[in-house]
Amino acid sequence: MRAYFSVFRMRLRMETQYRGAMIGGIVCQVFFGLILVALYRALYAGNPQPVPIEHVATYVWLQQSFFRMLTSTDPDLLDKIRNGNISYDLCRPVSMYWFYYVRAMAQKLMGSMMRGIPMLIFASLLPKGWGLEPPASPAGLVLALAALVPGFLCMCALANLTMGITMRTLDPRGISAMLDLLMISFSGNILPLTLFPDSWQRVLSLLPYAQLLDAPIRLYTGEYAPIEALRILSVQIVWAAILIGLGKGLWNANRRRLIVQGG
């Protein structure tokens, strides 16, 4: 445990050093947030939807604030795979999967805190219908935070799956682009899942991508009633277990066929 905790702490600290990236990220995500809200307001002006616009704006801001949790893969780890420094991690008395998993946790957690907190403050200062609304109920907030935990575990597991695939292809770009596309489309990052047709939503809400941020956000906005929380959390936990299982399987298979190239 000590090793995992220690590497977690180290990665947290490293993340705080990238202040330039933090400012760039905030500017970019605020810009995206404003554009998306403006876009949906324009859509509502012509063609109102059953979901209130305040919910959509809140949904957009929460998604943008936690964007860093969603898509980022650790550039250090990708470098390690490319340049072979991964050799060193392979001769440590730890589980490789969990060693990298906690690194992803630290990177995503610190990265999104550093960007998300200033952004959420900014978004809550915007006028009604443009910015972040308070949670639907205190219970909703508590349950949303609770749902963020399995959601976060799923996100880290997905990052490790990407990493596992990169170990095979050696180049992360192709596979990352593809997985990020799926992620952005089906996690509700661009188009809130609440705006998809009902029949689509029934399927989408069961996919792993809906467990990440969509489920916690809907508990926050009251889209999902607190009474549904148990079912939602169960689906999330099942997915977390599946994704971790798949990732571990892939990593173990990788270990057996591993080649470290270039001497």
Binding site: P93, V94, V260
Partner: protein, 321 residues
Amino acid sequence: MSYIEVNGLKKTFTVRKKREKGKLFREKQTVEALKGVSFSVEKGELVGYIGPNGAGKSTTVKILSGILTPDGGEALVGGRVPWLERREYVKHIGVVFGQRSQLWWDVPIVDSFSLLKDIYRLSAADYESRLKELTEALQLEEFLRTPLRLLSLGQRMRAELCGSLLHRPELLFLDEPTIGLDAVSKLALRDFLKWENAEHGTTIMLTTHDMEDIAALCSRVMVLGHGQKLYDGTLPELLEKFDTVRTVSVKYDGALPDIKLPEGISFERGENELSITYAPSVFPTAKLLATLQEAGRISEMTLQPENIDRLIAAMYKEMDL
């Protein structure tokens, strides 16, 4: 039974070639990196492992450090199979890859060390005393709080070595540790390795292209080529086999006397200096020296064995590598 027992170790890699014109699929080519290598190493030995690039040296090290799984053969190190019991096994070994880094780039090196302390579950007291010992021996005290990226290559390699030895491994693999180092750093590194080996009885297996490393450190050398072991023994014996040519330079007081040398010995005449290249097997050194001395009053003389790198090159050529 020896500490390291390797028996018929095999490893093949598949290389996909670029698709040729007119063919539907890319051709695959298998490269046999190791074709059945066997050796054994006793505890406390300092073994050099040499061979040209691509001979399979690093592959052997990677298999023995539990990173790669071989395709065939057996290996037992301290009673364990490296790739089967990886997590338990790696607690007892240390590895330094000369071309890679295990320390964190942006943080002070002491923080990387303290992460290693947690990874290997060292007690605080044990860690402190070992860190003190290593930083003294490697002269690292003044850099402990410096981020890795600000260190020179020589300082970095010393830091890497310190990181690999914190958990007091019984066995240390060094894969080209002196690559790119300046003379002072190389000498310091060699002194340190000798000290670590003598002080703690750490078994060391070293791959290198620097023959001075081998000459200075290793009592035993193994030559690997084309995935096979070609030689296993001492360095002097190895050199003797291929040490065919020597050069003598003599300076005489006054003019160069006329010297008669047997056929087949090449020499260059200078103003008052003579440089002779000869093979001791054909013309014994003692006889040559006597001839030279008879000819006149010698003021200065140097006798040089052939350059060690050239010898190795000749040896690789003879072994068809």
